[in-house]
Amino acid sequence: MEVKFWGVRGSIASPGPNTVRYGGNTTCIEIRAGKELIILDGGTGIFPLSQTLFPELPRKSHIFITHSHWDHIQGLPFFIPIFIPDNHIHLYGAFDPISNKGIEHVYDVQLQYSYFPIREAELKARMHYQSLSPGQTVHIGDVTIHTVLMNHPVTNLGYRVEYQGKSVFFTGDHEPPYNLCDKNDKDWQDYEALVVQKTTDIDDVMRDVDVLIADSSYTPEEYKQKQGWGHGTFDSCIKMAERIGAKRLFCTHHEPTRSDDALEKVFNEALERCKPKPSLDVQLAQEGLSIKL
């Protein structure tokens, strides 16, 4: 299995001289497992990824959307294979309980007259949509993908991809669940029990993963102002990786305003502060970085 980062930026694409090393594209991860192509999220990074696919076309692409916020779908209309006949595009993602719509809703919304010159009905590829429930498992050839409900202001599925005994887990956007009350509040204990239950449910799906790719947007200091926004910290990700026994942790969803130098600085401070076990390899996700498992 091979994993390649095509977009590691959170919120909004941030090109420019200050983000050249880690990259300015928003979330997109390519996974090659045998002959299968699995893409996690369709942020702006999916556009450069799609340009490398020409020699293989026509082919099947399986795109798993963690959630439908812009930075995770913005590149979808520019995933070039959708315009070329004989390609098969399988789009997977959560059902939306508020709009009562399935994952097809993402392209339906994006490919409207006001926002894009081509309608969904005019796409040349064969489009397949599969809405997923938390806990559902998908099989693609010999690849297995497990889903789990994470914690974000919209339904966000974490994906565990397994192939030939190796595994990768991607959180999408995730804030560790937290208690909504003060410790003195009468409801604190009720919430605490639920937080523990939810954390365990997520941990169980991540357990012993070879590679954990996790949302570490903030430093703990920044997080104080941003609780409830749905993102984790470097520290919470390191703690989570150690708890579930991950071998490697890639911190991603870098803040759009953070320069490469600033990113390395806060990352190194986090390592200094958290002192991860030697058995855990912690790195910053970087656009263009490719790892073999």
């Binding site: 309980p97 938390p134 806990g135 409900l149 009350c181």
Partner: protein, 285 residues
């Protein structure tokens, strides 16, 4: 829905429930709270938890098959931690924008008095549960069962208002509301409430408690047992009104399960006034 509800009534109920509005106070509260992006999650939870319609509809959504949860979601707190605050908040908002239950309805069923009865039954059931061995249940389960035990009445009042009004009339001659409902509609509110709960994938003990809250002689679960007791206490003390005020006698089974009579339970619970005052605030229109 279960077999004893006619297909015709079932269709009527399903259509009505789709667009069923919630109680005015929680609708106002949710619209007000959600206009501020920084509103306190606890306030949103509280507004939902004090409205049987909002509570029922949100439990329905989070327990739906498509959104299949690793375990059944039994409370709004549970929903908030599992689905995230923003999703629950937006669910409440979409219910709030449907509109409000009108103060006057064709069935002449007093919604405000009904809400007070439901809230206090929930509060009393929860209060009692703090003094007993709750088995596998949490205190909040007793509250939810108390709040929703009569949900079927609102559903009947809105989907077959004329028949329900006649059933209410019949209670003046001293027959029980559920007997009157069966005579007029062919089905009673506990059956309707339980059938909806089942269709909406509510946890089985909650459905059972709703289904059997007028059958004290049946072996049920402790949610039912204490909701039965709380319901009678509310009627005994004339707190709120939900269509009939006949205090049903305890069965031998319940006397044994609850370790005494309603009076002994009342002693355990102590002063109910603070609970009633709290409920009145939520039930006011």
């Amino acid at each position: 829905m279960s077999a004893h509800i006619s297909p015709e009534l079932q269709k009527k109920i399903e259509l009505m429930v789709e667009s069923m509005p919630a109680f005015p106070r929680s609708v106002h509260k949710i619209l007000d709270l959600t206009s501020d992006v920084n509103c306190a999650p606890k306030d949103v939870v509280e507004a939902i938890e004090h409205d049987p319609v909002m509570m029922g509809k949100i439990l329905k959504l989070v327990n739906s098959a498509f959104y299949s949860m690793p375990r059944k979601v039994t409370s709004i707190k549970h929903a908030v931690i599992y689905m995230g605050m923003n999703t629950v908040k937006n669910m409440a908002l979409s219910i709030a924008t449907v509109g409000m239950l009108p103060k006057y309805n064709a069935a002449r069923f007093d919604m405000s008095a009904f809400l007070l009865h439901s809230l206090v039954t929930g509060f009393v059931a929860r209060k009692i549960s703090e003094h007993i061995d709750r088995q596998e249940f949490d205190s909040i389960d007793f509250f939810v069962a108390g709040l929703l035990h009569d949900f079927g009445k609102v559903v009947l009042a809105l989907s077959v208002p004329d028949l329900f009004a006649q059933a209410l009339e019949m209670t003046k001659e001293g027959i029980s509301l559920q007997q009157a409902e069966i005579t007029m509609i062919g089905v009673d509110h506990s059956q309707v409430g339980a059938a909806l709960g089942e269709k909406w994938n509510f946890p089985a003990p909650l459905v059972q408690a709703i289904a059997e809250h007028h059958q004290p002689e049946l072996v049920s679960n402790i949610l039912r047992d204490y909701v039965f007791a709380a319901n009678q206490i509310c009627k005994m003390k004339s707190i709120g009104y939900a269509g009939h005020d006949i205090v049903e006698p305890m069965s031998d089974l319940l006397m044994a399960n609850l370790d005494g009579s309603l009076d002994t339970l009342l002693e355990k619970v102590g002063n109910l006034e603070p609970l009633i005052d709290e409920a009145k605030v939520f039930a006011s229109l």
